[in-house]
């Protein structure tokens, strides 16, 4: 038996195709991968430990930095968990605004995915179109929240401030413009011979195995499991919109690609429904412990001034209790397990990161494929290391 010599290749943590600081030790027999062990932790900031010393509303900017490519999708998760713990009711208008911003975040995440995924496999032009559209969403973010990538627009109990007519105009313009841009992607990739041969039957994973590995989001739906948190456990009035959940069949890179392309369309569908019937009313819940008093009150009424001062230096004290709230992030189920102990600080915050479990499936998915396919598979899982390492 010829003695087969395997060589170990070190990919990352600074590697163009690893979407961040993922390090992959790959054992090659010739071109095929025999064994792959991912190493993570290079972007570990200890967000969960930092959260324990912050006030409740000070944790929101931290959640922006988890999946930084789709920031608002993280914020909505933490805010819902905090509101569940504090027992607050979010007004309808704020819920709709949150849905719009979360869906825009999903589209931004998918733009980044399609651009880099195609670039890894060799299609250079897709990223220019993708980032051109992404730029327009960032303008919308800037219009309403003042920040492009990490808007931190949500507050516990609602959103930071009300929208402007300019915002609504821009959203409508984007909703009208975007389907045409989608056709561009489809013509570039969907029927492209090179694209299909590089992506079909690569990184196949059956439904049971995907569930067993804890995969969620588009990567799970690519294998045929129709699990989407927005439908399974509706939150922030998602039940008001009708939209479908795209599902693939044989769980390979191509099916995951098709699922995400369909999700583009569904998100635009949700956004147009939300922007059309945006209800009137306040954008902040009406609780004396968390709602920002109006500035005119603050300048004339001592109790409003005291409330404003205490809210930003002390904040509400959460009752004793444990709460789990999950949302559908761009990459999968993003859960926040929040424990309150009666003080103004979260006693413990555990973030259920979808990419953490996607990355844990890499050793299973990569084995038996060529090195070039590994790049395609990683791209198809669309992992973001900010969320893995926390």
């Amino acid at each position: 038996m010829t003695e087969s010599k395997t060589i170990t290749l070190n990919m990352g943590p600074h590697h163009p195709a690893t979407h961040g600081v993922l390090r992959l030790i790959v054992e090659l027999d010739g071109e095929t991968i025999v064994k792959a062990t991912p190493h993570i932790g290079y972007l570990h900031r200890g967000i969960e430990k930092i959260a324990e010393s912050k006030l409740f509303q000070q944790v929101i900017p931290l959640t922006d930095r988890l999946d930084y490519s789709a920031a608002s999708a993280n914020n909505i998760g933490y805010c819902i968990a905090a509101e569940k713990l504090l027992g607050l009711e979010v007004p309808k208008r704020a819920q709709y605004l949150r849905v719009i911003m979360a869906e825009f975040a999903r589209i931004m995440g998918h733009h980044l995915w399609i651009g880099t995924h195609a670039l890894d496999i060799g299609a250079m032009t897709v990223i220019f179109y993708a980032f051109r559209d992404r730029e327009m969403i960032m303008d919308i973010n800037e219009e309403i929240a003042g920040y492009r990538l990490t808007p931190t627009f949500f507050r516990i109990g609602g959103v930071a401030q009300d929208t402007t007519s300019e915002f609504i105009k821009k959203v409508r313009a984007f909703v009208k413009w975007f389907p045409k841009a989608m056709e561009g992607y489809h013509t570039l990739l969907t029927k492209n011979k090179i694209w299909t041969t590089r992506t079909m039957n690569i990184g196949k994973i059956s439904a049971e195995e995907a569930v067993n590995y804890g995969l969620t989001g588009p990567s799970l739906r690519g294998s045929g499991v129709a699990y989407d948190v927005r439908k399974a456990f509706p939150y922030s009035s998602y039940e008001d919109f009708d939209f479908q959940i795209p599902v693939g069949e044989n769980g390979d890179v191509y099916d995951r690609y098709l699922v995400r392309m369909e999700e583009f369309k569904q998100s635009i569908n949700i956004i147009s429904q939300a922007i059309e019937n945006l209800p009137e009313g306040p954008v902040q819940t009406d609780s004396p412990w968390i709602t920002n008093p109006r500035t005119v009150d603050v300048q004339n009424d001592i109790s409003a001034l005291i409330r404003r001062f205490m809210m930003h230096t002390k904040g509400p004290a959460a009752p004793k209790g444990e709460v789990y709230a999950a949302v559908e992030g761009a990459k999968g189920e993003l859960g926040f397990y929040l424990v309150g102990d009666g003080t103004e600080h979260p006693y413990r915050l555990k973030i259920r990161s979808s990419c953490f479990y996607l990355a844990s499936a890499l050793p299973r998915l990569l084995v038996g494929h060529m090195v070039a396919d590994a790049i395609a598979i990683i791209g198809s899982l669309d992992v973001v290391l900010g969320e893995i390492d926390r």
Partner: protein, 164 residues
């Protein structure tokens, strides 16, 4: 959901020590010894198996003994129901690993070990995942200072050894 609970308490009479409703999700607390059997049962339970382990987390209840809570979030993708399984572990006590039942538990248990220092018996490869190999201490414990130990001294990166 109640049928499952009753089924469990028949097979393992003293397994469930507490049952409550955490914000709409059923939660049960399991005694440490009957833990593995109950988890296997939940995984295979016929009408709708809990086939996905969403997450494992640990909470440091410092002054209380046993000190740690280890919480498992399970989901059945057949009819989209969740169940939270909690068990209380003392310092240095071992808890059987469920990574042979759900693959996703492998990394999740490694993270709990790394950040909280809870040991999982017969885990395929229990080593640190987020911090480097010779990192001292477990950051998420309540007695670990926020800034880290002797944060104001220069840190010599050459001392870092990581799993190769």
């Amino acid at each position: 959901m109640q049928t499952i609970i009753n089924a469990i308490s028949e097979k393992h009479p003293d397994a469930i020590t507490k049952q409550c409703d955490a914000q709409g999700i059923c939660e049960i607390t399991i005694a440490a010894d009957a833990f593995l059997e109950v988890m296997k049962f939940l995984h295979e339970n016929k009408p709708f198996p809990f086939d996905m382990l969403t997450d494992i987390l640990s909470i440091d209840r410092m002054p209380r003994t046993p000190r740690f809570d280890v919480v498992y979030l399970l989901l059945s993708t057949k009819n989209f129901t969740r169940i939270i399984v909690r068990t209380e572990i003392g310092e240095g006590q071992e808890i059987p690993s469920v990574s042979r039942i759900w693959h996703s538990a492998d990394w999740a248990e490694r993270e709990v070990f790394d950040l909280m220092g809870i040991l999982f018996s017969n885990h395929p490869g229990l080593r640190r995942i987020l911090t480097w190999e010779n990192f001292e201490g477990h950051p998420l414990r309540k007695d670990f200072p926020l800034e880290g130990k002797d944060f104001d001294k220069p840190f010599d990166t050459t001392t870092i050894q990581d799993y190769c």
